[in-house]
């Protein structure tokens, strides 16, 4: 494979650039990139935004550096300053040297010689990273020719095909003629990676490369990225907010907060014994996908800093439980932690933390949860809140002509059966396009479904439902959306947002006022702030307002569509705790859709796994996570990154081949058959069964069903 990676450059390269595979190995461990005292600031209307304040690191060949931080911590700005791609209103000081050359003084034209050749980059959103009007072949060619002028046409094509094959794109030769919109997100990210490694870079910067992808696709892309790094011997800078991903990828980690590195160490040290309280908090706030819930999550109090108005002293001090006066007076520098080789932290209280062996449980207050109203009541004795049987929803596919003839159907939801009982959380999981949100919307719709049945609180939802009954049901079922910014009217003050559903109930003003005060307290917001507008709140607070709005009419069932995925880790924990407390206090049931399996393992009591509009497995959370029966569930569970570098290294991952089939196809047999790893181990006759007979949900274990003909019960 190494021979594929001969430098394809024929002209204009210095001796240092021209590495044979042997030299690459010899050069392993050399510092290729070093960042010293990097400061970046932007002028904005709110004042000067100091996005990066003193970033330092050295990057060696073959090494992977993980940069972790929440939004606004300066991690992307750091990478963009290395690439020289910052806006012209950015003020950059300090030094970035690449192979001994200073980059910050270079012009755009000089930098363009290095970009894509010495340093390459992979961006977050693969859907928008490729130019829609050029074919993949043209874009690959551009990446090659810009640094190798005069490369002959056939050589360009040969190399493009070679690169696409390396990143795992089937039929590479034909696909060169395809346009970006003809590829799925995961495939486009592979193309971007192929372009990034086209000229054998010494440094690859990957900025949240898998954040926009589904978990099974994320696993594939991470594999490709690791392979690309191995083949090129390049150093990798991996930027992410996801501690699970970073645990499996990085060697060294830099944790950033408010534009500064606050802790730096090897991946093992960071995860095993973090020193800086922010790092501890970040790790403590993440739910674990590989363990049952033992405790409440520990949110970091307060909200992220405003970079345009930084406090004096340590920027984390306002949120830090250990902060003392010294912390508020001056900002600590990143200094080596005594007794820990290679670990450094920026904290005034490092010594005490070490001496007393503090962990995040000591630093942060682990709150007590509220006991559930239904604690001790077994599930069978609780009332059924929602019962869905064989729900089906199709959307017509119409031709573009004048008459809009129907030319097919999108089977968004094909066969969904689930039930939700009082006071419990049922989670729907699956890749995007599996029909999770459509299922929620169908329930919310309160219309007789196309096929199958929906029963709410014992009342079947049918055409004959009276207006009063329907209104009654509307109050009992509420919805919380993913994005609190777009689901709240920006021109309504919070008071009106909360009063709206109550006015619809015909309450008088006095009762509404009391209820709003009560609701604000319920979601842990200051009731005096009801006259503010949603934009004046942070993301987490906004989601609390959305929760308060949903709860205002005392619903018995709340449908939540990715309620925490738009939030930062430290904020997310607080919202999850709130949801748990409210459920325990009020006995409301949740039907919860999320793609983040860690969150689901933490919050839900039951899980239903969806694939292509079908429920393929359901059961209690522990059963489904620990002993998944359906091969799809098994692959899904194994793809979830675990925030633990040691566990992550020992894990066996089932990497699924291929992508979700189109929901417009009619599949005769099992919808998963085309990607099923289990099917490959079966006999001819068994395979024929998978291909021809759709498996029904079958009870394999007590309270654990799966739709697979050949599930293996261990």
């Amino acid at each position: 494979m190494t021979m594929f990676f001969r430098k394809t450059k024929s002209t204009n390269n210095s001796a240092a650039q021209n590495q044979s595979p042997k030299r690459t190995a010899a050069a392993q461990g050399d510092v290729v990139l070093s960042v010293r005292d990097l400061h970046v600031s932007f002028a904005s209307e709110a004042g000067t935004v100091r996005a990066v304040r003193g970033m330092n690191f050295d990057l060696r060949r073959g090494e992977t550096l993980g940069i972790v931080g929440e939004s606004g911590s300066g991690k992307s700005v750091t990478s963009m300053s290395i690439m020289g791609l910052l806006d012209s209103n950015a003020k950059v000081t300090g030094s970035i040297t690449f192979r001994g050359e200073e980059l910050l003084t270079k012009t755009d034209a000089e930098m363009s010689k290095i970009r894509g050749d010495g340093i390459a980059m992979v961006f977050q959103d693969p859907l928008s990273a490729l130019t829609p009007v050029y074919s993949i072949g043209e874009q690959m060619k551009e990446a090659l020719v810009i640094h190798n002028p005069g490369m002959p046409e056939d050589e360009v094509e040969r190399r493009s095909i070679e690169l696409l094959e390396l990143v795992g794109i089937p039929n590479a030769k034909e696909r060169l003629k395809s346009y970006p919109h003809q590829f799925s997100g995961g495939m486009r990210q592979r193309v971007v990676i192929a372009m990034a490694i086209a000229n054998n870079p010494d440094v690859i910067i990957a900025d949240e490369p898998t954040t926009a992808l589904d978990v099974t696709i994320q696993a594939q892309v991470l594999d490709v990225l690791k392979k690309a790094q191995r083949e090129t011997g390049a150093a990798l800078i991996f930027i992410t907010h996801d501690l699970g991903v970073i645990a499996g990828v990085a060697d060294q980690i830099v944790v950033m907060y408010a534009g500064r590195p606050v802790e730096q160490a090897s991946v093992e040290d960071i995860f095993a014994h973090p020193v800086m309280p922010y790092t501890m908090g970040l790790l403590g706030a993440v739910p674990r996908p590989d363990r049952d819930k033992t405790d409440r999550l520990v949110p970091i109090p307060g909200s992220p800093v405003n970079l345009a108005a930084l406090p004096t002293g340590c920027p984390f001090a306002p949120r830090c439980p250990l902060a003392v006066d010294a912390c508020r007076a001056n900002e600590p520098n990143l200094e080596p932690v005594p007794g820990r080789n290679g670990q450094s932290a920026a904290c005034h209280r490092t010594r005490e933390i070490l001496d007393r062996g503090l962990t995040f449980r000591d630093v942060y207050e682990v709150g007590k949860g509220v006991a559930s109203k239904f604690a001790g009541v077994p599930r069978e004795r609780r009332a059924v809140v929602l019962d869905v049987q064989h729900l089906k929803k199709t959307f017509p596919l119409t031709s573009g002509g004048f008459l809009r003839r129907k030319i097919g159907e999108v089977h968004a939801v094909d066969d969904v059966t689930l039930d939700v009982r009082e006071g419990e959380t049922v989670a729907l999981v699956g890749e995007s396009g599996s029909g999770k949100s459509t299922t929620l919307l169908e329930i919310m719709n309160l219309q007789q479904p196309e096929s199958g049945s929906i029963t709410l609180f014992g009342q079947p939802v049918t055409k004959g439902l009276k207006r009063a009954q329907r209104r009654e049901l509307h109050h009992s079922v509420q919805y919380i959306f993913q994005d609190p910014m777009s689901s709240l009217d920006p021109r309504l003050p919070v008071y009106d947002v909360l009063a709206e559903p109550l006015k619809a109930l015909g309450w008088d003003r006095k009762r509404i006022n009391d209820r709003i005060g009560e609701l604000m307290e319920l979601v842990e917001l200051n009731p005096d702030q009801v006259d503010r507008f949603p934009t004046q709140f942070s993301g987490g607070q906004r989601q609390r307002i959305a929760i308060a709005r949903a709860l205002s009419v005392n619903p018995k069932l709340v449908l939540l569509d990715e309620p925490v995925s738009a939030l930062d880790v430290s904020i997310q924990a607080g919202v999850i705790n709130l949801l748990e407390d409210l459920q325990n206090k009020l006995g409301v049931a949740y039907l919860f859709v999320a793609h983040n399996l860690s969150v689901i393992r933490h919050i839900s009591s039951r899980v239903a796994v969806m694939y292509l509009g079908h429920i393929v497995e359901s059961g209690t959370t522990t059963e489904v996570f620990e002993h998944p029966l359906h091969p799809y569930t098994q692959a899904l569970m194994s793809a979830v990154p675990v925030p633990d570098p040691i566990a992550e290294r020992q894990r066996h991952r089932v990497v699924l081949q291929g992508e979700l089939p189109s929901p417009t196809e009619r599949i005769a047999g099992c919808p998963f058959a085309s990607r099923c790893p289990l099917r490959l181990t079966l006999s001819e006759e068994q395979r024929a069964m998978c291909d021809s007979q759709p498996p029904a949900l079958k009870q394999w274990q007590p309270d654990h069903v799966a739709a697979c003909h050949f599930a293996q019960v261990s």
Partner: protein, 327 residues
Amino acid sequence: MLKYIIKRIVNYAVMLFVAVSMTYFLASAFMDPRSNYMSRHPQPPVESVNRSLDNANINDQTPIIIRYLHWLKNVVTKWDWGLAPDQSPVGPAVASRISASVQLVTIATVLSILIGVSIGVYTAIRQYKWQDRALNVVATFFLVIPPAVLGLFVAFGAIALNNAAGARIFFVTGLHSYEGSNPWLWFVDFLQHIVLPTIVITIPGAVSYHLTQRTYLLDTMNADYVRTARAKGLTLNQAIRKHALRTSLIPTTVNIAFSIASVFTGAVITETVFAINGLGRYFVTTINNNDINGATAIAAFGGVCTLAGALLADILSAWLDPRIRLS
């Protein structure tokens, strides 16, 4: 692709037929050519009026359906679009005006696209720099000036120039006045006539292309794929030229294709100010003179222009944007 275009053209032909027929019926219902004759002094005898009206096939005493079929037969078999109430044939009148309007509008449209799009690109790349702000002020200024005011202003300016030079550099009326056979002199004469109205039509057009193209390019300039292109090693200007510009030209191209239809409305005000016999003025005249056949012919030509623009816009955007499939 070819099949799509043919299907489209057939569709459009049907649409055009229905639209033109409806225009014919509407015009016949609302216009009263008889009044043209009846208001003359001395009033002509009724028989002679009827004879004239019958001759032009616009007699309101003949059933409309018979007039319509007769008119349709002439159009289809002889390409004869009928007579105006004053017995002059409509077809040649429209044709000569089309030629005048095309001369006037084509040059101005091409110029306004070239100038407007270039300024749009130039200012987008220099967003918020002084060049951008200055050109924006200029654009806003011309945007709020009504064409009549601009036309008169240009005309007066030209007259002042002529007076100052003591010679007739610019003509402020008509399109041609040279009657000899020297093509070079003919061309110079044409230029002397066309410059002023062209300026008046070009400026508002260029301003609108400037502002829209600037917005389109700014939208795509900060797109992720431009950043990807720069990350591959293209300089900022190369990345904008190759990746941002092409995508931002798609909506502009659609606008341009649709601007074909503006040939038909012509530029009524500019034509009036500079006394040019274009389609715009003709359209107004036909309506004023109860010229049923003339109005219908103009409507037919307008329909052809609009549909040709729509078809061209479809084909061009499919050609520029691979995401659009014509099928």
